[in-house]
Every structure is written in C-alpha cells, then in structure tokens.
C-alpha cells in the first residue's frame, strides 16, 4: 500500500452557485466539496500497486438555470510534484444536456474546462515513482556509472567488519 498525496489548483465560474465537486479514485469516493474561492484542494489516498483512475466530477449543475457554472483544472501535483504538461493527459467525459446529445458518449481530450456535469479522468499507476519515470524524462546513468542498493549493503557490511 502506497499513500499518494494529490493537490489540485483550479479556477471556477459561478453560475447560480459554485460547482459541486467530488473526487473518486478507482470509483471510491475520496472527497466532495463546493468549489468556491479556495482554488485548491488536497487529499491523500492509500493505493495498492497497479493501475488507477482519478476522476474529478461536477454534478447537480442545472444547465437551464446555472449558466456558465464551471470548474477548470489549472494544475495537479502528485506527492508535491507538478505534473506540468502531463495535465493534458486528462480526458473529459461530459454529461451533455439532452438537447446537445448526439447519441454517443462524448470524450474530450485536453479539455480541462468542466462546464457540464461529468468528470475529468486521469489514468496512472503505482508505484508512483515508476509512473513518474514514464511520464517525465529521468536521468539514466551510462555504463559504469550506475548505483545500486547492493553496493550500499556491501559498503555497510564492510564498514561493520572493518570498524
């Protein structure tokens, strides 16, 4: 089990009230809140090793009365690290009002403005360090320049022996 800390920075547009939001991780409710003027929310969750789905939902928006009420994700930090451009890996799944529906579920990539009910979805995996290695460019030592836990263990044993 690995505890992941996530922080979201966002902006909102008020429309007959603020957006009513909730966060789910692997369909498990983590928190819900009314996204007012705070502009950020932070939460933690314990996750087993494997693939995960983070969803940021907006609900209870009445498209006839609530106008432009919207939530827009600006930044996401995982364990304090800014995901930077990887924020665009979120996919939006809007619940369109009846008069806008086309018969198929809309799926909008790279659209962080949640103006409808629905959710923004991010797929990721744990161990989180391994996932970060996939999404960011990490340094990779060349031949003869590596470092290992084995060498640490060996050095520690040698120190104990020689001391």
């Amino acid at each position: 089990m690995e505890t992941i800390k996530i922080k979201l920075d966002y902006t909102v547009i008020e429309g007959n009230g603020y957006p009513e939001m909730k966060i789910t991780l692997d369909k498990r409710l983590i928190t819900n809140w009314v996204a007012g003027d705070d502009n950020d929310i932070e939460f933690s969750a314990g996750l087993n090793t494997g693939d995960h789905v983070l969803r940021i939902h907006q609900s209870n928006k009445n498209h006839k009365t609530d106008g432009f009420r919207a939530f827009e994700l600006q930044k996401i930090y995982v364990n304090s690290a800014d995901l930077k451009h990887n924020i665009h890996n979120f996919v939006q799944w809007p619940e369109l009002p009846r008069w806008e529906q086309t018969g198929k579920q809309e799926q909008w990539e790279d659209n962080l403005h949640l103006g409808h009910n629905g959710y923004l979805e991010l797929n990721f995996s744990t161990p989180i360090q391994e996932w970060f290695k996939k999404i960011f460019r990490w340094g990779k030592p060349t031949r003869g320049q590596h470092s290992s836990f084995d060498a640490i263990k060996e050095a520690r044993e040698k120190l104990k022996r020689l001391c």
Binding site: Q129, F132, G144, H146, A151, I152, E154, A155, L159, L162
Partner: protein, 511 residues
C-alpha cells in the same frame, strides 16, 4: 595492426610512407574516464596544433577499451583495477593484449610526438602501464598533461608527471594551459608549465582555434539518446573560492570566452558535423552573466533568423547558484529558449551553516528560487554533493536529508535528473581547507610525510563526533535515503567501492 580506430588507420593506409612520417603528434586519451562524448582535451589540442601548421591525430584509447570489453562484469573489473580500486584483475592477460595492440599501433604510426591526456588521477594507472610498454619501443618524444598529472587535485604537486619524468618514461609534462605549451614543445622550445609548475595562464581564450573532432566524430560514443554530443570549453578558473576546491587557486584569474565565440563554435559544429547537443566542460557556464546572456541571446536570435525552433541546440554545463537579483526570472526563460539543460550545480549540502563555511555564497532560500525556476521553465539539473564536511554536525547532515525530502518533487518531475554524492570529503593540496588547515583546526591523522597529508584521513578536533567512520556512515546513509526517494545517483557504486578501499587502506596503515 590492432583494432582501434579503423577509420584513421584506413585513412593512414591510403597515405604513402612519406605522408605517414608527417604526423607530428599523436594525441591519446587513456582509460578510465566517461565515454558519453568525444574527448575534450585532445580534440581541443588538435585544433590548436593544426592552427599552427602541424599535423595531429586523436585516438581515444579509453573509448577503445570500452568497446573491446563488451561484457559489463569484465569491464567493471578491469575498470576497478585501472582506477586502483582493486589491486588485481583476473583479466590481466586480456588487458595486456590490448595494451600491446595500442603500442603496436602507436609505433607503426611513428609520430614525432605522442601526447597523453591524463584526464584525472583515475587515468594514471593506465598511463603508466601504456608508457612502460611504449617507451622501449618508441623513439619519439612523449608528453603528458592534464589534471591527472597531480594525484591530489589539479593544484597538487604534479607528482605523477614528475615521477614519470624521473623514471624517464616521458620527456615532458605540461601543467596548465596545454594550448600554449604544446606548440612550444613542437617547436623545440622550453617554457612556463613545461617540466615545471610555473605555468602562465592565457588571458585570451578566444585566440584559439575550435576543437577538431574529425578523428572521433564518427565513433559510437555512449550518447544518452540517439544523438551526438560534443564538449565545449568556455572558461578557465572560477568566480567563487570554495574552501574544498582548488580550481580558483590553480587558475589565478577567471578567464572566459565571449558568448558570441561560443555560439559560433556551436553553430560551426552544427554545420560541420550536424551536432545539436553540447556539454560545457569548464567549471561554470554562468560565471560571467554578461557573456552567458550574450551566448543565450545570440543562439535565440540565430534560431529565429534560420527558422529553427527554440532550444534547437541543447547544452549542459556547470552552473552556480546566483540570487534573483543577479540572475532573474527572465534569464531562466532565456536559458530555456536557448536550450540549456542538465546544469550541474554544486549544492554540496542542505545546511546553510555548512555551505557558508564552504564559501559557496548561496543559501537554501536562494537555491529554492533557482530550482523553482528550473522546474517552472522545464530546465533540469544535476546536484553535486559532499557529505562529511569538517564542520558538519549531525543536525547539519539531517538538514541535507530534509532538503532531499523537500526536493523529492523535483526528482519526480525530472527537474533534478541526477546526483553525484562523491566519496566523502577528500582534503586536497591547493585548497583552502588544506592550506589553512591550522587556521581551520583540522588535524591530518596520517602525516608522516607531506605527500600523504591529504585525502580522507583527517579529523577536526573541533568536531570530534565526525570520525572517518561517521563520515562513511553518513555517505552510505545519504545514498540510501535519496535512492529510496527516487533520486538517480550517478557513479554511486564506484564511489562507495573507492571509499571502502580507501578506508581499508587507512585501517591497514597504508593509506
């Protein structure tokens, strides 16, 4: 004929005998050093030698060894032996055969001079092995140069060079600027820095020709990605005077090239070799903010003029932390546009107190600003660290661990792409810690003769908790701590092995 440098040998085979004899100097790189890009010193010297009308050929024996020992375990074993980490290797016969091949090749080429670049003390063993075989078979003159001619830091006593000369394995050792000295030697002249330590530092680095990579440009170096990378040198010396470092005492003045000349060299290498990636090999890329900005602006303007994208070139270097007034947010944006990446920063410690004693001249708050700017502008960097500085308390060490906890986010997001944790503090000749030892109050334990009063075997009477064992323990703990948090440590295994070997020698009384 041996297997090295097919291209050069084929080129030579096309020459007739009289052409063959025209080679004035064969410039050699010897193991062990990194092979992530072509050698800097020999190619730089070739440029200057050719500029003065001589002929030269560069051969990278370090690269050749790496190619021939394609089994990782064998390579590591031989490398440990050549770096004096181990006293023997089961692959000695194999190594001797390679050395014999090299000697045969050198003798066959019959240059008037052989110049050996002893990059660091890690190249001393292979230099000696090569020269012991070469000297009896080769009648030309042999020159050695490079930081490795001194065992204990660049500003050391030139002990290795002097020893080789005394043993008549060489004819000349060169200390200091090789560009000037090598031309004097080729002209049969003496001069400062030739078989003496009184070299005079060149004040005009823009006078020299660009390095000549033609002999090595097509070799498959261990480039990090699938692109060629070339070294570039922008300065000598340093603007800071850190207590543990000898650069500022060796080079009496910080001397630097103009930003425009550096940009032109990069553009020339793009034109000649199609190279877009560079690494600055000098002590600091932002020593002169005026010329650093000039370099960045020149490149950005050149990209625009040629309809090239921003960061068309990518270049790394060593970088000093400056406060926000000296290096502004705009400067970081400009760095990103010009293509800076992988800046090596001598952070050394997470303790303001220790860093102040080191004379590093920056605080954690200023470092926070710099790393924040790096992250914001998608620049990345590499930290160089020292654990076990003479004044370091347990609390100071914990401050370093705390810094890495705070900076874990920058490891995760690829801003800090690597750490060099070193092998604890070695007090070298020519550093303030060594020269002012009495003032600082450090007592070297092993001081039976002057030559051995350096290295890791010291104790600070004012900080008695910091025993050698404690320093080693902190070094090991630090590596484990940062690796647990996802930081990538470079060369950690070799550093730990070397440290433990040194400790073993201390314990046996033969350090």
């Amino acid at each position: 004929m041996g297997k090295l440098h097919k291209k050069e040998l084929e080129k030579n085979l096309e020459m007739n005998d009289s052409d063959f004899k025209k080679l004035d100097i064969l410039l050699l790189n010897v193991p062990i050093s990194n092979i992530t890009y072509p050698p800097a010193a020999t190619t730089l010297l070739k440029g200057v030698v050719v500029q003065h009308g001589f002929t030269a050929l560069v051969q990278d024996l370090n690269f050749d060894l790496n190619q021939r020992l394609n089994d990782d375990d064998i390579f590591t074993d031989v490398s440990d032996y050549l770096c004096n980490i181990s006293d023997s290797t089961p692959y000695l016969t194999m190594l001797n055969n390679i050395l014999d091949d090299w000697v045969q090749d050198i003798v066959a080429q019959n240059p008037k001079f052989v110049g050996v670049s002893v990059f660091t003390f890690q190249c001393q063993h292979s230099t000696r092995l090569l020269l012991e075989k070469l000297r009896p078979l080769y009648s030309g003159k042999i020159i050695v140069g490079g930081a490795g001619i001194s065992t204990n830091g660049i500003n050391g006593s030139t002990d290795f060079g002097k020893t080789l000369l005394a043993e008549e394995l060489i004819d000349f050792y060169v200390r200091g600027d090789g560009e000037t000295a090598i031309i004097r030697i080729l002209n049969n002249e003496d001069g400062p820095g030739i078989n003496n330590t009184n070299f005079s530092q060149s004040r005009d680095l823009d006078q020299y020709a660009n390095p000549d990579y033609s002999d090595v440009i097509d070799l498959p170096y261990a480039y990090e990605e699938d692109y060629k990378l070339l070294p570039i040198n922008g300065s000598r010396g340093c603007v800071r005077a850190c207590t543990f470092c000898d650069i500022h005492t060796f080079w009496d003045k910080f001397t630097f090239r103009s930003g425009e000349s550096l940009a032109r060299e990069m553009i020339d290498n793009w034109t000649l070799h199609g190279v877009q990636h560079f690494t600055f090999t000098d002590s600091l890329i932002n020593g002169s903010m005026r010329e650093f900005r000039a370099l960045l602006k020149y490149l950005v303007a050149w990209y625009a003029e040629n309809n090239l994208p921003e960061a068309f070139f990518r270049f790394s270097g060593q970088f000093i932390v400056r406060n926000e007034r000296q290096q502004t947010q705009e400067d970081y944006k400009l760095m990103a546009k010009a293509g800076c990446q992988n800046m090596m920063i001598g952070v050394e410690t997470g303790s303001d107190e220790v860093r102040a004693h080191m004379q590093k001249k920056f605080t954690n708050a200023e470092l926070d600003f710099v790393i924040g700017q790096f992250s914001e502008n998608n620049l990345n960097c590499f930290f160089s660290m020292i654990s076990g500085y003479p004044t370091e308390t347990k609390q100071n060490f914990d401050d370093t661990l705390d810094m890495f906890s705070r900076y874990q986010k920058y490891a995760l997001d690829g801003t800090i792409i690597g750490l060099n944790l070193g092998a604890t503090l070695s007090i070298d000749e020519g550093t303030a810690l060594y020269d002012d030892m009495k003032e600082y109050g450090y007592l070297m334990l092993h001081d039976s003769d002057n030559s051995s009063r350096v290295g890791i075997n010291w104790v600070n009477p004012q900080n008695l908790e910091l025993t050698l064992e404690e320093r080693i323990k902190r070094r090991i703990d630090l590596q484990e701590f940062v690796m647990d948090r996802g930081f990538v440590v470079w060369n950690g295994d070799t550093h730990l092995k070397r440290l433990m070997k040194s400790y073993e020698r201390v314990q046996l009384g033969n350090y």
